[in-house]
């Protein structure tokens, strides 16, 4: 099982889409709300060198935004 983290804000629709995608494909993930969690926000900026959400960390590989095809590839989903 890959270690999946998502840095999100409650109002971000692409974060919702990414989480929907994980749920549909039975992918476990850990979520950090960077609107409130300042430490997570700093971690997100450090990892992604940018300020947009969502940021998704799959075993250390960083994805900015929601790109279904890229995530599917990283998670070996057809």
């Amino acid at each position: 099982m890959k270690n999946v983290k998502i840095y999100s804000t409650p109002t971000c629709v692409y974060c919702k889409m990414a989480k929907d995608f994980f749920q549909k494909n039975n992918i476990q993930y850990e979520e950090f709300n960077v609107a409130e969690d300042v430490k997570a926000r700093e971690e997100m900026v450090e990892k992604s060198h940018q300020l947009g959400v969502p940021v998704i960390d799959i075993d250390g590989e960083i994805f900015v935004g929601f790109n279904r095809a890229e995530l599917a590839k990283a998670l070996n989903i057809n």
């Binding site: 804000t9 409650p10 109002t11 971000c12 629709v13 692409y14 974060c15 919702k16 889409m17 960077v34 609107a35 409130e36 926000r41 060198h49 940018q50 300020l51 947009g52 959400v53 900015v64 279904r68 095809a69």
Partner: protein, 307 residues
Amino acid sequence: MIVYDLVIIGGGPAGVAAGIYAARKKIKSAIIADGFGGQSLVSNDIQNWIGTKSVSGFDLAKMMEDHLRAQEGIDTIYPARANKVEKTADGFMIEVDDGKKIKAKTILMTTGSRRRKIGVPGEAELDGKGVAYCSTCDAPIFSGKTVAVVGGGNAGLEAVLDLSNYASKIYLLEFSDKLKGDLITQEKVKSNDKVEIILRAKTLEILGDKLVTGLKYQDLAGNEERGLRLDGVFIEIGALPNSDLVRDLVKLNDREEIIVDHKTQQSSQKGIWAAGDVSDVLYKQNNISAGDAVKAVLNVNEYLNRF
């Protein structure tokens, strides 16, 4: 190769409305969509979709997708984009981004529009590094920061309001000498203490190395260059229609919108219709896009029955 009577390109309100009507008219049809819901997908709260007092863009997109998928007799090609449209002897050939080709007797373009960029130095380089295009998504990240919103239309005003929940200072830059957008939203923006409105400001450059540090603009009133120290810049200067796909087949106006006959939604090219923001409709609205697309499908149906 499968030949459809109608292929709808795009999954926003126009595309979905068209798909539902095409299926119910038993037109042999397909819809190519890389997502549903259109541009208001990112909106937190839509209060003018007729029949619903309040709905998020995300939920509206799901409702649309569900409604479309409940129809029998339309093929949903998703997630997919059309890469190319070519005219053939008896219709059109559409190349989908997975390399597949499909044939269509008629096409309805419901490809919508995309965000317009300013095109100044720093904008592309700092995209995501303080330059942002989705205030509902990214506003919380700028909590306690100083930001600018470029564009004084509805989208810009709403970005200011989104940001006012988080940022400590917001500059609103507008090129012309007054704000545009709904008066009720203008009032909310003007009465907010965190907001400073700068009119007649032409953005020249977005500054920063790793992250945004500021913005340079020309004060068109005094004709001098000024700078702002910033942590973020939200760009909300309108949209560009996604009409490239049929650029060589139909007439576009000077805004690159597909010119249609507003009675039928037909373009200048026999067999191609357009509805929603990609067309030269005067008002870009979800309800109008859906209605215009319905009009288009009814006209397509008449056309198919005739030939």
